[in-house]
């Protein structure tokens, strides 16, 4: 599939979870300046598909490529250009929001503390940046996770339910950031239950 050589392509992946055949030869292709919105009922393999795309899960059959290169062959380069956010915020409760961000982002790229503070301000959690994340609300933790995606400066965003726990203003911010990312030449794959009202190229994939 050469059309996806400037983006992400998942080709004919088969995944079994125990006895269940979750993904049956599924193919997706997302190009630059494009957002793929994956929806569907619970248990249809949305998260599994995202984990396959991130490289966390090896499909039994099929392959995943980024910029025309199989991610198996160059996982490090792929990971440097990709930001993955699972449905849980993946933060250490004992570390502050800023430390959480630093220890996650600084492994990917050189980053300064003021830079991280700006990103935390952008997602609305600047005032609580120095509190341990265990005292933050679920919505605030989600915003810290969003700041982590943003701070990674990645071309590809893989987001699992990024809207969960966010208030109205937070959802609006999430949409705004997604839009800016895609319009700026990025690629995004988003798992979300509700419809996305975005002013950019959105394709929908319904799993069932």
């Amino acid at each position: 599939m050469n059309s996806a050589s400037d983006g992400l392509s998942v080709e004919k992946v088969h995944v079994w979870r125990g006895e269940r055949h979750v993904l049956k030869g599924l193919s997706i292709a997302v190009r630059a300046r494009e957002l793929l919105h994956i929806s569907g009922p619970n248990g249809t393999g949305k998260t599994t598909l995202l984990r396959v795309a991130s490289g966390l899960l090896r499909p039994e059959q099929g392959s995943v490529s980024w910029l025309g290169q199989q991610i198996r062959q160059s996982p490090v380069q792929y990971q440097a250009q990709m930001a993955y956010s699972s449905h849980e915020p993946a933060l250490k409760g004992d570390l502050t929001a800023l430390e959480n961000l630093r220890f996650a982002v600084a492994l990917k790229r050189r980053v300064t503390i003021p830079e991280l503070r700006i990103v935390l301000d952008r997602t609305g959690v600047g005032p609580v940046a120095d509190l341990p994340t265990r005292v933050l609300s679920a919505g605030q933790r989600r915003r810290v996770a969003l700041a982590r995606v943003l701070a990674m400066n990645a071309t590809l965003w893989l987001l699992d339910e990024p809207y969960s726990n966010l208030d109205a203003a937070g959802s609006e911010l999430m949409s705004e950031l997604l839009q800016a990312h895609v319009q700026g030449g990025g690629v995004a794959v988003v798992v979300a239950h509700h419809s996305l009202e975005l002013d950019c190229d959105v394709r929908r994939l319904e799993l069932n």
Partner: protein, 226 residues
């Protein structure tokens, strides 16, 4: 703009140490366990100094093994539970580096700490001061090896609910050579003979695990992460 391996190693080390020191009670538990178990023996046995001297190397080493097991469970599990291990594994740094950095941090807060407090225990067990250096060296070599064996076991048992019991069953049999050579080294130091032989064996085991266990632990982790 990519981050070098050395920098990434130091960053993960920093992360692990910060996390450990935010929970001092978890840090102290294995040490206090080690102190209590070893001081129970002289209290429970008859007050014959010669008997105590005979059994003290074995007691010291058994307690060290068991107390190290207490903290192994947390090596990867808490990161796996809250999803941060996934983030680390996707950080573009390679899983082996992460495993090495985490295990080194784990040894610093458990094994190294145990070596530091061991003279207190040694006094309670009537080990002569002249034997302290050999005892501490043997413990240092032994705990490094044990941290690596533990990393393999911890990597394999992440996903299991009663993982810590299985972890003990995996690690303890592998650790028996440590007990044998460690106790032998300490015993020779106590009796005033040369402990070089058993120390060489301990050092060999240490080098062996330091080189191969990172690969094994990474493979174990990769299986359980999926």
């Amino acid at each position: 703009m990519q981050v070098g391996a050395r920098q990434a190693f130091l960053l993960i080390l920093h992360r692990e140490l910060s996390l450990s020191f935010r929970r001092p009670e978890q840090l102290l538990q294995p040490l206090v366990f080690f102190l209590i178990v070893t001081t129970l023996f002289p209290l429970g046995l008859s007050l014959q100094l010669s008997l105590l001297r005979d059994i003290s190397p074995g007691v010291l080493w058994t307690a060290a093994l068991l107390s190290s097991l207490l903290s192994l469970d947390s090596l990867f599990k808490s990161d796996a539970d809250d999803g941060t291990l996934e983030q680390l594994s996707l950080s573009g740094q390679g899983l082996t580096l992460i495993v090495v950095a985490k295990t080194c941090a784990h040894w610093l807060v458990t094994g190294a700490a145990l070596v530091v407090v061991s003279p207190i225990v040694a006094i309670a067990l009537a080990i002569p001061v002249a034997a302290f250096a050999t005892m501490m060296l043997s413990l240092a070599l032994g705990t490094i090896t044990l941290s690596w064996l533990g990393a393999i076991g911890a990597g394999l048992t992440i996903g299991l609910r009663r993982g810590n019991v299985l972890l003990s069953l995996i690690v303890l049999p592998l650790a028996t050579p440590l007990l044998i050579f460690g106790a032998a080294a300490t015993e020779r130091a106590v009796s005033g003979t040369s402990a070089v032989g058993p120390l060489y064996f301990l050092a060999a085991l240490c080098v062996f695990t330091c080189t191969l266990a990172p690969l094994a632990a990474t493979a174990a982790l990769r299986i359980t992460l999926e």
